[in-house]
């Protein structure tokens, strides 16, 4: 049956010195014909070494824009890009494009894009594609790079003779593994995964999650996992950040989050998950997220919130409700325990 993973306990003090990534007030606005879209609006969080952070949110909440901002894969219509991203104490936001490309991207931070299995080059052998980052960014020779690629294939559970194949000869799950092999082949400190399992079948999904867990354990990799799938994200998460309408509304550790989260939106999401082992009826959150063109001035979730009161017309500050637990909600002005709004969670 399933073997236990080693549980790495992070002491509150040890975690401090262990910080890998520190994001402060990150903003990314886009210019469109209808106005400025505030896709990422003042996002802050930090990530420790060998930690997996899940960024949860619905479509259109800005989570993919956040990934693009961290990787500086920006389109041309950027209106404003600011804030601070410290990787091991090194500031990334002011860095020139060329420096970032040479020193950071793929060497320190790599990326598994959304629907990565469809992002492989159809006319290159998958082995060559996995070897490419090593040749481009590390300056390795081709034969050595291919050897490393073979090792990466073994790591993600793809037979080594698949190096010679083309993407169309592989199943969706195998292609997704190849994309993960490509991201880990340079042994980066941080891998960003954008919806790595959303297009896959249940068994394949479980398989990919197993692969990611093993890589994290054996290579001390950190992950930022961007997803809307709460149940699957609990397979990997050490910590969870919930994003709503361009802002992070809660940061919590997995241990507490997957029991009872703090923010009313996070609780709503949690209560909306159909569960297979419990018989409780899931509920839904009425309404829709606001437009990021003209987000409401107060709390952005207020309109859909079952617990809103007068104060919610002003923007709530971020309250620290526990060690490394943050929540942006007026309910926690004088409260450090989750205020339970859904009986199914209690």
């Amino acid at each position: 049956m399933s073997d236990e993973l080693r549980v790495t306990e992070l002491s509150p003090n040890g975690a401090e010195s262990n910080t890998l990534l520190q994001v402060e007030n990150l903003k990314l606005y886009f210019r469109t014909t209808r106005g400025v879209v505030q896709a990422v609006d003042g996002v802050s969080f930090e990530l420790a070494r060998n930690e997996a952070m899940v960024i949860l949110g619905e479509s259109g909440c800005g989570k993919t824009s956040l990934a693009r901002a961290l990787l500086r894969l920006l389109p041309r219509n950027v209106e404003h890009f600011g804030g601070s991203v410290l990787l091991d104490g090194q500031e990334l936001v002011g860095m020139s494009e060329e420096e970032f490309r040479q020193d950071i991207r793929w060497l320190r931070i790599s990326f598994v894009p959304q629907a990565a299995m469809n992002a492989l080059n159809p006319v290159l052998r998958v082995g060559d594609q996995v070897a490419e980052p090593l040749m481009e960014h590390v300056g390795m020779g081709k034969s050595q790079a291919l050897e490393q690629a073979a090792a990466a294939f073994r790591n993600v559970g793809v037979p080594v003779d698949f190096l010679e194949r083309y993407a169309f000869e592989l199943s969706g799950g195998m292609r997704q593994r190849v994309a993960i092999a490509m991201a880990m082949v340079t042994n980066p400190a941080l891998i960003l995964l954008d919806e790595p399992t959303s297009a896959l079948d249940v068994l394949t999904q479980a398989n990919i999650m197993n692969v990611l867990k093993r890589i994290k354990k054996e290579h001390d990799t950190s992950y930022i996992l961007i997803t809307h799938d709460i149940a699957t994200s609990s397979e990997l998460a050490d910590r969870v950040a919930v994003m709503y309408a361009g802002q992070i509304v809660e940061v919590n550790d997995a241990e507490h989050f997957f029991r009872i989260p703090f923010h009313p939106y996070a609780q709503g999401l949690m209560a909306s998950v159909p569960r297979i082992r419990q018989k409780q009826e899931p509920t839904f959150i009425p309404g829709q997220p606001p437009s990021l063109l003209n987000p409401p001035t107060g709390c952005r979730f207020a309109e859909r919130c079952p617990a809103r009161f007068e104060k919610c017309s002003q923007e709530p500050p971020v309250y620290e409700v526990g060690p490394r637990q943050l929540v942006k909600c007026w309910l926690y002005e004088n409260e450090t325990k989750p205020v339970v709004l859904h009986e199914t969670l209690a």
């Binding site: 993973l5 079948d201 999904q205 197993n210 609990s234 998950v273």
Partner: protein
């Protein structure tokens, strides 16, 4: 068969004559030993084998009943559904609706059949024509089925839109699909499936493209419509956690076969086939403990449907296989518990 469906009134009389199913005697839909194979050709003409997408599927569905078909991509569930909808011609076997075999129906007969069966697609945006307004999209089936009066059509459109809660109706009538959110688009798709008052709706992964918070809302809507209008429903999904919403019975499909069928609660409590067990244990509930264990997943991938393995099609991946039996003989349906069928030699 006189199937000029001009007015609803006529549909009603037609129904009264043709269905003893109301009293539970004849099932609404019977699928008998259905095979849907697709021919593979080499260089465009030489025969190169068959893709056996549906390979011997039989079941019955009573009026107003709901079943779920669960399986992974490539297991043949979409081919099964399309054969039931009459979009693929079965290679062997029959689909019988209200006692009439689809293969016996002429063009008019098929039109009548399609007015009796609604289809909810997986990707709402892809399923809605981008250049038609909601009103046009919903009017179209009525026009095709000969509802001449404009006001009558509009009344029905409004009625259906209220039922799927696209409210206030006036705000949505003239909108185009791209102006709607994913959940609203899926409501339009459901409204379109409902508009001819079908007796059967086939829903193919109706919520897999939607956000978590909207999913439950759409599932509830489908469930309440199915119950209040007494429509039979075939719900096709890969997500076992949502089948509880509709279905009384659930069928698990693997490599073109139905390998297990049971009441939903029974299957969720005690899956019998090793594949169903694997499927069930691979689904996570949100739980912080998940991150500390590896999930048990059977090795390998579903087999090719061109050359499926001999014997039980799951045997190459099965930890409990018996050499000389599972890899040789195709398991028949066993019924270890009344009403719970499984094609697995473990239960012989």
């Amino acid at each position: 068969m006189s199937t000029q469906i001009d007015q609803n009134a006529q549909t009603e009389t037609e129904v009264a004559v043709a269905t003893p199913s109301q009293d539970g005697k004849t099932p609404l839909l019977q699928v008998k030993d259905l095979h849907t194979w697709f021919e593979l050709r080499r260089w465009g003409f030489g025969h190169a084998g068959y893709v056996r997408a549906v390979d011997g599927v039989s079941f019955e569905l009573r009026a107003g009943d709901a079943i779920a078909v669960v399986g992974e991509s490539g297991c043949g569930k979409s081919s099964l559904m399309k054969t039931i909808l009459g979009l693929h011609r079965p290679t062997k076997g029959e689909v019988i609706f209200e006692g009439k075999s689809l293969s016996q129906l002429d063009r008019e007969g098929m039109r009548w059949y399609h007015s009796q069966v609604g289809y909810v697609q997986q990707d709402p945006f892809g399923a809605l024509p981008p250049f038609m307004s909601v009103r046009r999209i919903l009017e179209e089936p009525l026009i095709v089925n000969g509802v001449r009066s404009r006001s009558e059509r509009l009344d029905r459109v409004r009625e259906v839109m209220e039922e799927v809660r696209l409210l206030p109706v006036g705000d949505f009538l003239n909108k185009f699909p791209h102006q709607l959110s994913g959940g609203q688009q899926q409501r339009v798709v459901i409204a379109r499936a409902m508009i001819l008052r079908p007796k059967l709706i086939v829903a193919d992964e109706p919520v897999s493209m939607l956000d978590a918070s909207v999913r439950v809302e759409i599932l509830r809507l489908l469930q309440s419509l199915q119950r209040s209008h007494d429509i039979a429903l075939i719900y096709i999904t890969h997500d076992l956690s949502t089948v509880r919403y509709f279905a009384r019975r659930v069928f698990v499909m693997y490599a073109g076969n139905l390998i297990e069928q049971a009441e939903v609660d029974e299957l969720l409590r005690e899956p019998m086939h090793p594949y169903s067990q694997a499927l069930l244990s691979a689904i996570s509930d949100p739980d912080p403990r998940n991150a500390h264990v590896y999930r048990d997943v059977p090795p390998g991938e579903p087999p090719s449907l061109v050359n499926p393995p001999a014997g039980c099609r799951f045997h190459p991946r099965c930890a409990q296989r018996e050499e000389g039996l599972c890899d040789v003989d195709v398991p028949p349906d066993f019924e270890p518990v009344p009403g719970h069928f499984t094609k697995c030699w473990l239960y012989r």
